[in-house]
Amino acid sequence: MPVTINLICGAQEDGQTILSPLIFNIDDIKKLRDVGICGILSGTLPSAAQQNIFLSVPLKLMIEEAIWLYLNGLAEFKVLRGDTAHLVKEILDRDAHNIHVVAKERLERSFELQREYKREQHRLKLERLGIISPETSNKNTSDQSQNDKLLEASLFIETPTTSNLLNNLHLNHENGINDNLLHILVSQYSNWDNFLLFQALKDKGYVLAPGGRFGGKFIAYPGDPLRYHSHMVVRDALHYKDQPLDLLELAANARLGTAVKKIWVIGAPIPTNDKLESNNIPSKKDVSFYSVEWAGFG
């Protein structure tokens, strides 16, 4: 049973929707821990709101973690809340026709229900007033079209306070809404190669966490972070062919690595000859890794 990743639409930068993947369910968090996805607890404790050392649910995932879970069939997405206008637009852009049909059908259906209801009400009213008899009520009368016009004008369109469409999106697997959300996650994501590094390290059994504090993209643990010290700081992915190592950067990171007892890991996905895979979700690629540390002399 896949866990549910709740996506919160955050602030928009340059018209881009920023989605934050969150998990609220403790059992789900336990399940993820078993597959080496740890995330970061980010909820404050109501009784001690001033501190940020002890935190509670929701668990915030790295984008890489969310994508990895989804691609491995371990999770599904659900849009929780937030300013969804851009999200809707993006989904509309991608899947405009489907959603248009769904929305139109829904509206038509609502109108039809209203019409039926109103006609019934109208009929009952006329009956009560004795203008028509139940027997004749089903016959077309001469002023039918006139009545219909009045009726159409009285139909109303509901302005919902919540989006039924979005709330139900996660249920519509067949509509590929989850894939759409994945697309948004991927498109807001600056460097797909970083995901390939994440994936390759995950395959090697490492548990990854954000590496900002150590000047890297990730830090990697050989197992659960509560049991092991982290061994390596992983740099943002390099381009295989045309991004030479910055040797000053190397010197700084090797020095830092010596101080914090971590080796500096650099990696680049090896380009393949195939054209970009369909729907922008590339399949697995080999990643070439190197680990760098000070040699202890010179």
């Binding site: 590496g211 900002g212 504090r213 150590f214 000047g215 890297g216 993209k217 943002d236 000053l248 950067e249 190397l250 010197a251 700084a252 990171n253 020095r255 830092l256 101080a259």
Partner: protein, 372 residues
């Protein structure tokens, strides 16, 4: 070696330019006025000779000072350059000297004395000559037979030369080993090879170390101070631009690196390479023998923006070494064409004046600690 001289005396002058030593001026004694004026007019505080630099370009420009006195002079007057076989001050020769002296005094039983090495070197030389004769004979033989095209001859010559050079290495080690059987062969061998290269045939220590100047130091010492036998415009055009007149990325980088270097030097800082900390420069109040450097400088283009992890890495590296990270932003205020024209016309100072420098201190702020 004047080891006992205190640092304050040894490093009296912060730059290789010294104030004129003038006699005391006694107001009521007109003779002293005359003498003072005489000294003032004839006095001279420029160097008696320009310091010679060897500029080697093997893809990367290396600037070396090889004269022993000049090396010492540049180090003592402003801490310019780095000894290639030392941590910073070129002390390798002195180390070797004292090592061989102590060996001669018999403190080390299994080590080799200067004379021994000299002897081996001569043996090796004879052996080498024998080999060379063989090679020459072989070539002559081939030539006589007329089977040799000029290209082939160069090729064979090249091959043989390579062989001979290898032979020189191997032979030496072998010979020395035979005569010095010892428990610790590896160590023995290492010392022998090392020492064979160090000692010349007259039994003297060869100076293998030179003082290397960074390109910006070379520019500073030729442009701002005029103590080297190279002119700044020659240096830039011939060695850094390869005589091409394009405003390349390399030229731009050199110019902004120099702008920053000159900026700090002219504000009285002792500026040295920051490679150990992954930065461009480190700044000393006076110099390495006096105290640790206080600042790490990264020289950046004024419009440069780095990923956040870069700043945090640099800040952590500097913080770990008790230094402050200084981001030095250099802005180009004249057009590239204008700057190229200045360089072509030899107006180096105008070229350097096309840049302005501003700096920012980057420091990690910890809410729990930084209360003040």
């Amino acid at each position: 070696m004047s080891k006992r001289v205190s640092n304050a005396v040894r490093y009296k002058n912060p730059l290789p330019i010294h104030p004129l030593e003038l006699p005391e001026l006694i107001i009521h004694n007109p003779v002293s006025w005359v003498y003072w004026t005489y000294c003032y007019i004839t006095g001279c505080n420029t160097l008696q000779h320009k310091i010679h630099v060897d500029i080697v370009n093997n893809g990367i420009v290396h600037i070396e000072v090889r004269n022993q006195d000049d090396m010492k002079y540049l180090w003592e007057n402003g801490f310019f350059g780095t000894g290639q076989l030392s941590r910073s001050e070129p002390t390798w020769y002195n180390h070797m000297q004292s090592r061989f002296q102590s060996e001669e005094n018999g403190t080390a039983d299994k080590k080799i004395s200067l004379e021994q090495v000299t002897k081996f070197r001569r043996q090796q030389r004879t052996e080498f000559k024998k080999q060379r004769e063989l090679v020459e004979a072989k070539l002559l033989n081939l030539r006589k037979k007329g089977e040799l095209s000029p290209e082939e001859e160069t090729r064979i010559l090249e091959q043989e030369r390579e062989k001979l050079r290898k032979f020189k290495d191997d032979q030496l080690a072998l010979h020395l080993l035979k005569e010095n059987r010892n428990d610790n062969l590896e160590e023995q061998e290492r010392l022998l090879i090392q020492e064979a290269e160090v000692i010349n045939e007259n039994g003297e220590i060869r100076q293998l170390e030179s003082l290397e100047l960074m390109p910006v130091e070379t520019l500073f010492l030729s442009f701002a101070l005029d103590v080297l036998d190279v002119t700044p415009s020659d240096f830039i055009i011939k060695h850094c631009m390869d005589n091409s007149f394009d405003y390349t990325d390399e030229l731009h980088k050199l110019l902004i690196q120099y702008s920053a270097y000159h900026h700090y030097r002219s504000h009285g800082w002792c500026v040295r390479s920051g490679i150990k900390f992954g930065s461009d420069y480190i700044l000393y109040k006076r110099g390495p023998p006096f105290q640790h450097a206080d600042f790490c400088v990264m020289v950046l283009d004024s419009n440069c923006s780095k990923p956040y992890t870069w700043y945090s890495t640099m800040a952590r590296v500097c913080g770990g070494a008790n230094k402050t990270l200084l981001l030095c932003y250099v802005e180009r205020i004249n057009s590239k064409e204008q700057i190229l024209q200045y360089i072509r016309q030899g107006h180096i100072s105008k070229a350097f004046n096309s840049f302005t420098v501003g700096e920012v201190i980057y420091k990690r702020w910890v809410p729990g600690k930084n209360r003040d």
